[in-house]
């Protein structure tokens, strides 16, 4: 079932898929910025430091599924 859903996602227009990835990057930046503001060591946000491994870490989590559920 899950792989069927993923194959359906793959069929979406390229522009739409890129925009979805962009939304995730923006979300990640916001979360990181908020976390940074809450931190005692407020070092600010550097977009170039976005880590693919961090972004990918929860890729298969229920929360991740929820993010994509409106597609």
């Amino acid at each position: 079932m899950k792989s069927e859903f993923r194959r359906e996602l793959a069929q979406q227009p390229f522009e739409e898929k890129i925009h979805k990835v962009g939304e995730l990057i923006s979300l990640s930046r916001k979360v990181k910025t908020d976390a940074s503001l809450d931190s005692d060591e407020n070092t600010g946000f550097n977009g170039a430091e976005l880590s693919e491994s961090v972004l990918a870490r929860d890729w298969n989590s229920p929360e991740e599924d929820a993010v994509w559920s409106n597609l």
């Binding site: 993923r6 194959r7 793959a10 898929k17 890129i18 925009h19 880590s51 890729w59």
Partner: protein, 168 residues
Amino acid sequence: MADERSAIPLADVLGAANELVSAGLIKDYALGGALAAIYYTEPVTTYDADIFFVVSDKTLSAGIPAIYSHLKSEGWRVEREHFIVKDFPVQFLAASGLTEEAVRAAKQIEYEGVPAKVFRPEYIIAISASVGRHKDRARIEQLLEQATIDKPLLDDILRRYNLNLPKK
């Protein structure tokens, strides 16, 4: 508030690459890496764009200073190995061997009205097999599951470059 949709300014990136071709600074180019894979698969997270280019100038510097000057004049900046456009990192990579063949064989597309080229899935798989990191193995698996693959072409590329797909 910034438009979330601008987080990946891919049309700007491809437009700039087209300008580099028009200016004669590069011969040809194609989108590779994760963004190219997304053309064929579900969306996956990535933090940069990889543009593979065929050099016009075969000298040691491969025309990189000219590319740098051109992009800088367009408002791009440089941070370590990346060019930055609208806060999004882009890597310009000189193609050779397998990647040069991938550029020449790339699929012609249009992205938000901008003509561009994107690596074919068979080449993305072969390049991923040659790199072999965890994320490359995941990319191969995704492409094999979700993209339409020309199996004879893939086998031919793998054979000619002495590559093997990772075992499951």
